[in-house]
Each structure stands twice: as C-alpha cells, then as structure tokens.
C-alpha cells in the first residue's frame, strides 16, 4: 500500500515535470504529436503505479524518452517547415469568401454538425456571417466574420482611444507579485503608499490591480 502511494507521488511529480517541460501548448490545445505523447504518458504512468512488480524505472524511462523526443521534434519543427507540416499538418480552409468548401470538409471528415458546433463556440450562430473559416492543426476552428457582421470598433466610430496594457494583478490574497508591480512601472514604496491611503496593510488586501497610468483598484479582505 505504502509502495503504491510512493510510486503514485513520484510519478505525479514526474508527469508534472514532463508536462511543464513540454511547454504551455500542452496544457491548452494539443498538436497531433503532443496528443500522442500525452495519451502514451498517461497510459505508461498507470502501469508502475498499479503493478508493484514492475520496476519504477520502466515507467520513468519511457515517459522521459517520449517527452524528450517531443521537445526535439518541436525544436526541429521550428527550424523546418517541412517537418512542421509532417508532425502537425497544415491549417485547412473550409469556408472561403463565404462559401463552404464541401470537398475539404469531406476530406477532413468534418460534418455540418461539427462546423455549426465550432461556429457556435466562436459565438457565430449564422453561417452567412462567416467570410473565412480555418480548421487549425489543433482541430480548433478559427473564424473571420464578414465586415457587415463584425461589431463596430472605436476606429469605425472615429472615437479616439489610448493604447495601453490592461491592469495587472499586483496583490492576490495578501501576496505581492513583484514582477507584475515592475511591469506597471511601480515599486513597493508606491504600493505601500496606496495601501496606507486605503487604510490597509498589504496583507489585508484581497485583490489589487493597477495599470501603467497608476490607476488602481483595491478590494479589502472580508472578515479580517
């Protein structure tokens, strides 16, 4: 029992390390090669956890090998377009100029239901609003709507606006994020000043956001 517990803990740490090593994309949308590695890793990891007669090394070696190969493949793909296409395929256009490419849909085995479901996922409920739709290598649909169906922007309305980064989360549950503080061009002294002005210490702040203009918003912890 204790052995199984320890094996599970070790493999959990190893898989977290492996997924981190594979990069952020692994957590979100998977490329075909990454999907294969993820499926294999999850299967391989369960064997030495369940069966204590299998040495741990038999789980560790294939997991690390697969992850390393995936990283190498990704690195090679960065350098060669041909390899990238080989490992990940190419995005395919299924709607162009507002017209559905039925031949392409058949070759992708993409049904009308799949198309409508993906469009709804992009907040498009009328196919007539679509100018261009691309099935990405991850299988996700990217949609460009017709100009007439796109919401009006400030530019369309000739409204002047400042271009600036959105506010950053500076304090979360009393914990200061120094990197975020630096990214808005402020320091601890400024932080102390604004929290004192609000009548709280940093530890008593539930959430504090600030932007590069020095505009901030503080939410105090409740029940303190």
């Amino acid at each position: 029992m204790l052995t199984v517990l320890l094996r599970a803990v070790i493999l959990y740490i190893l898989i977290i390390f492996s997924i981190r090593l594979m990069g952020k994309r692994q957590i979100g949308e998977l490329q075909p090669s990454e999907l294969v590695v993820t499926i294999l890793v999850s299967n391989i990891a369960t064997l030495p956890i369940e069966d204590i007669t299998i040495p741990m090394i038999m789980g560790v070696v294939p997991i690390l090998t697969l992850v390393s190969l995936d990283v190498f493949a990704a690195q090679l793909s960065l350098k060669s377009g041909k390899l990238r296409r080989l490992f990940s395929g190419q995005p395919k256009i299924i709607i162009s100029g507002g017209r559905i490419d039925q031949k392409m849909m058949r070759s992708l085995r993409y049904t009308v239901d799949d198309l409508m479901e993906s469009l709804r996922g992009c907040s498009v409920f009328d196919i007539n609003d679509v100018q261009l739709a691309v099935v990405e290598t991850t299988g996700k649909l990217s949609v460009y709507q017709k100009q007439s169906s796109q919401p009006a922007t400030k530019e369309d309305m000739k409204v002047k606006s400042d271009e600036k980064d959105p506010p950053q989360l500076i304090i979360t549950d009393g914990e200061v994020n120094d990197a975020a503080l630096r990214s808005v061009g402020r320091d601890r002294t400024w932080l102390k000043k604004i929290t004192s002005a609000a009548g709280v210490s940093e530890r008593e702040v539930f959430m504090l956001t600030a932007d590069t203009d020095g505009e901030y918003s503080i939410i105090k912890k409740e029940g303190q």
Partner: protein, 117 residues
C-alpha cells in the same frame, strides 16, 4: 532552448543508464551462468566438494546481483529465479534426480533475463 538542453541531458543520462544496465545484466548473468555450468559439469564428474563450493558461490553472487536486478527487471521474474536457486541446495542434499534439470531451468531463466534487458 533551455528545454532542448534539459532534454538532451535527460536523453544522455537515460542512454548511459540503459547501456550501464545492459552491461550490468550481461556481466552478472554471464557470471551466474558460468557458475551454474560449473555445477552441472561437477555433477557429471561426481565432484561433491566442488558442487557444494559452486552452490555457495552461486548463492553469494545471486545475493549480490539481486538488488541491482530489482531496479531493472520485473520483480516476478527475479523472484522466480530466487526461489529456484533456493531449492537447488536442498535438491542436491536430498540427491534429487531433477537437480540438473533444475540447474538448467535456472540457467534458461538467466538467459531470458539477459535477453529481455
């Protein structure tokens, strides 16, 4: 780039460890097989003192190898070899007819272990 370097290090370590494990298994199995061969030939010659000495040596060498094997081989497989080895002395003392057959069985298992790893 850091990821690629980490993976290169991992692959280098895994390759070195795999080669090391293969060499270890090969050497240890060869050693054990040669002792079993000694036991078999001594039995043919009827040299009782030599057989006892070889059996002692076989048990000693197996005890030394067991820990190493347990990291790389399936537990069931090495436990089977352990069990069969523990039976050898008793069979020999009893003058069992299948003592040599049992020795050959252990030898085959060691060959299989070497081939798998």
């Amino acid at each position: 780039m850091a990821r690629t370097v980490i993976c290169m290090v991992i692959m280098a370590v895994l390759t070195a460890a795999s080669i090391g494990a293969a060499i270890y298994t090969d050497t240890r199995c060869d050693e054990l097989i040669s002792i079993i061969d000694e036991v078999i030939s001594s039995e043919g010659e009827g040299s009782q003192g030599q057989i006892t000495e070889s059996l002692d040596s076989l048990e000693r060498e197996w005890d030394k190898s067991y820990k190493g094997f347990s990291f790389i081989a399936q537990r069931e497989m090495i436990n089977d070899i352990s069990f069969e080895l523990s039976q050898l002395r008793e069979r020999y003392t009893r003058g069992s007819d299948d003592f040599i057959a049992e020795c050959r069985g252990v030898r085959d298992r060691l060959i299989r272990l070497r081939e798998i790893l």
